[in-house]
């Protein structure tokens, strides 16, 4: 008698079919179809993404997915990038590595973001995973180049080592010489964040020379300009190159060998680095500019005319990161040269100055939005904005998926009308129907949140600072934004009411951060008690929150859903509001 009617395929066939399903969302859906699919799927899931390392425990993950080969973990909240999360908060990866060392001997890939990684972790990785291939440490900290030496020495199949934006204790360049002479598998190396003056150039050159599959190489500042030609000469197949220092006294022989080296890199599509640029050396890259799709000039402190000269050579550019030295005039030129632009990031050269030091206003952004129909992602720092400009942007760029605007002075009104910028941002969320990420700034009332709640149905991440008037603002967002996963708020007059009224919503989100708002300690306790599947953590460096009345607002609040219960690695300045936790403030 046939037991299985609906699913008559053998398990192996189903497993083969599932192997074509890569996205987590689809995999999760597959696992919910029926018990047997759940079982089959969990045995063949190879890749895991955990957006909050405290949402689940290593043991739970291992128990459900015994054959994982690739794991991605994120630790600290995003605002940690701006020093809002005190040191020692958490995000330690060691417990994960320790458990996986035993459970996943065939683990190949580890990708971490904003986590604390020690040399001990790196050594453990080096000795536990025989087929280890990919290590990405994005904005991590806690380790030194000694740990990297251990990885280099042991991981014979390493393909990718990417330390982007990490805070590494750089003890000098000798770690590179720990790659054995027989090691040739490197495909991608990003050591651009290393800060020491020392780098072992000969080890680097030999490594580059023997790794013929190398596609990405991002050097750190210690590598001088006159060594670039030599390095590129050994790796003409590079697709993505980050220079070290790009400045030196101009010498024609150095220039010509540099230009020659760049010319022979026919596959080069992305350039970055360019510390200490001397403009006279920029033309050396002109031979590759016409093919460039990505250019990161965020360390380039040269004036607009020189920037424009360079950008005019790059008609294929899709992604540009640049300082505000480019000014409105430069962005205007960009908009006529680079019609394929998809992503633009303009960073402030003098973020803490009180007066504008460059002529960059909302006009620059508007001119790009008017002329570049493919624009999807914007990060823009400026000092003034108007509703009219925002409406123009919204109407001309309906395909925006990420819009992050930072008007440097908090609560800056529309400079033309002196009104709040509610209407402008409202237009953004109304017209850009696929908007997934939004950062607000300027003078904003509760109205902007009403628009966001009404229109921003695909919004996944919202960042708010110095905005709003009352709890109604927060309520609009929590009740209206159906796809919201991450909400981070600072210095807004949002209190208990909206939070408690929308407590259930918080379980559908990854996390909520609120700092310098008006949420009381009492409300935090209540939330912690009523919502066992939320971890409600109060961060307060000035002392235990229960030494003050319940009505006192908490300094910082971080709420996230979790099936692992409250965490056990909290520092003294973090308190959990979990009712059953022994670690709760008594």
């Amino acid at each position: 008698m046939q037991k299985k009617v609906a699913c008559s395929f053998p398990d192996e066939v189903l497993e083969h079919v599932f192997s074509f399903i890569q996205s987590d969302k689809d995999r999760n859906a597959v696992s919910m179809v029926c018990k047997s699919w759940y079982e089959i799927e969990r045995w063949c899931r190879r890749k895991i993404f955990i957006g909050n390392c405290y949402a689940v425990s290593p043991r739970m993950v291992i128990r459900r997915f015994p054959k994982v080969r690739s794991i991605e973990l994120k630790g600290k909240p995003h605002f940690a990038d701006f020093n809002l999360v005190p040191d020692g908060w958490g995000g330690y990866v060691l417990p994960w590595i320790a458990e996986m060392a035993g459970a996943y001997p065939w683990l190949e890939e580890i990708r971490l973001k904003r986590m604390v990684v020690t040399d001990e972790c790196l050594e453990l990785i080096a000795k536990s995973f025989k087929n280890f291939k990919v290590l990405v440490l994005f904005s991590c900290e806690g380790f030194s180049t000694d740990g990297l030496a251990a990885i280099a020495a042991s991981c014979m199949n390493l393909r990718e080592l990417d330390l982007r934006d990490s805070d590494v204790d750089d003890l000098g360049g000798h770690w590179l010489s720990h790659f054995p002479e027989t090691y040739t598998s490197l495909v991608s190396l990003n050591s651009s964040c290393l800060g020491s003056d020392e780098v072992s150039l000969s080890a680097l050159e030999r490594l580059v020379g023997r790794c013929t599959n190398l596609r990405t190489l991002r050097l750190n500042r210690a590598v001088p300009l006159d060594k670039i030609a030599n390095i590129l000469g050994r790796a003409p197949q590079l697709v993505d190159f980050g220079t070290g220092t790009y400045g030196a006294d101009l010498q024609s022989d150095v220039f010509s060998s540099l230009a020659g080296a760049f010319s022979s890199c026919k596959e080069l599509r992305s350039l970055s680095g360019f510390w200490d640029v001397v403009p006279a050396y920029l033309p050396a890259i002109y031979p590759v500019c016409s093919r460039l799709t990505s250019l990161n000039l965020s360390y380039v402190t040269i004036q607009s005319p020189d920037l424009v000269k360079l950008l005019r050579h790059c008609p294929s550019l899709q992604r540009l990161l640049v300082l505000d030295y480019i000014e409105d005039s430069g962005l205007e030129a960009l908009s006529s040269s680079c019609k394929d632009l998809q992503e633009l990031r303009v960073f402030p050269s003098d973020p803490f100055g009180e007066e504008p030091n460059v002529s960059l206003t909302e006009q620059g952004l508007v001119s790009v939005c008017l002329a570049c129909p493919k624009l999807q992602s914007v990060l823009y720092f400026c000092r003034r904005m108007s509703n009219v400009a925002l409406v123009t942007i919204a109407q001309n760029c309906p395909n925006l998926t990420r819009f992050r605007l930072c008007i440097i002075e908090p609560r800056t009104a529309d400079f033309l009308t002196l009104e709040p910028l509610d209407v402008g941002f409202g237009a953004i969320v109304e017209h850009c129907k696929d908007l997934r990420r939004l950062s607000l700034s300027g003078l904003l009332t509760d109205r902007v949140f009403e628009y966001i709640g009404r229109y921003a149905k695909k919004l996944e991440m919202l960042s708010v600072a110095f905005a709003g008037e009352s709890d109604l603002g927060l309520h609009h967002v929590l009740s209206g934004c159906e796809s919201l996963r991450k909400l981070e708020i600072r210095d807004c007059p949002f209190g208990d009411k909206a939070l408690l009224a929308n407590a259930a919503k918080l379980e559908t989100m990854r996390s909520l951060w609120m700092s310098s708002c008006a949420v009381s300690f009492g409300a935090c306790k209540l939330l912690g008690q009523k919502m066992p599947r939320l971890n409600v953590e109060v961060i307060d460096e000035s002392g235990p929150p229960d030494s003050r009345p319940d009505s006192c607002p908490v300094d910082k609040l971080y709420i996230y859903r979790s099936v692992a219960g409250p965490r056990f690695d909290m520092p003294p300045f973090v308190w959990t509001m979990d009712e059953d936790s022994a670690l709760q403030v008594s």
Partner: protein, 220 residues
């Protein structure tokens, strides 16, 4: 203060140098030396306009760094270098590197007529005003000029100094010409030039090109 001359005084004081300033005493050069005309004690916060020595020409009531300022922040007279408390984490830019291991940019500072050099770390400052205030503190005996005490100054040098710097290309530029961050990146060393030498550097139009070329002409 003891009137004895120190070992440093080899040459005669052709440029009106105050040799008392070079006497060997305990303490750093530039620290409060009580000169006989009762110059204000070092360390009291002065508004920027009072430190205008470090500028060219007739800037009696100007707050600017001479007429060459183009994109430099213009602080109000009474403001101290950081008048607003900086809000933590705002604007939301990542500050690299966190530990500050590589963020020091030391440049030598020479003052015309002074036998010693100082070094400053440009990364320690956020603006021209902060830098110049600090230079003024360091070389106070040479450059302090309080407008209120202007007429009283006979003995203490009434010499004005113009801050100039050598950039990456080897050109001598006026401090304040370019945006601050660009200055930090390109400055190799600083020289406080006597404004008597700097006269003739003043361009007729406040464009960067002309000021640069004029300085090139006169600096050997």
């Amino acid at each position: 203060m003891s009137p004895e001359k120190g070992k440093l005084l080899a040459e005669t004081d052709a440029g009106g140098l105050n040799f008392e300033a070079t006497e060997l005493t305990l303490g750093w050069p530039g620290e409060s030396r009580v000169t006989s005309d009762g110059v204000a004690k070092l360390g009291s916060k002065r508004g920027f306009s009072e430190t205008v020595d470090l500028s060219l020409g007739d800037n009696k009531d100007s707050n600017k760094l001479g007429q060459f300022q183009i994109n430099v922040p213009v602080p109000e007279a009474a403001k101290s270098p950081v008048s607003k408390a900086q809000v933590v984490g705002w604007p939301p830019v990542r500050v690299y590197p966190k530990r500050g291991t590589k963020s020091c940019k030391y440049v030598k500072v020479a003052v015309d007529g002074a036998p010693y050099l100082r070094k400053v770390d440009l990364e320690m400052y956020n603006s021209y005003q902060q830098l110049l205030t600090s230079l003024e503190d360091m070389f106070s005996c040479f450059t302090i000029r309080n407008y209120l005490n202007d007429k009283k100054r006979e003995r203490v040098n009434g010499i004005e100094y113009v801050p100039t710097y050598e950039d990456k290309d080897g050109d001598w530029m006026l401090v304040g010409d370019v945006p601050w961050q660009m200055f930090v990146e390109s400055c190799k060393r600083i020289r406080l030039m006597k404004s008597s030498e700097a006269i003739g550097l003043a361009p007729t139009t406040p464009t960067k090109c002309s000021s640069t070329s004029q300085i090139k002409k006169s600096c050997t």
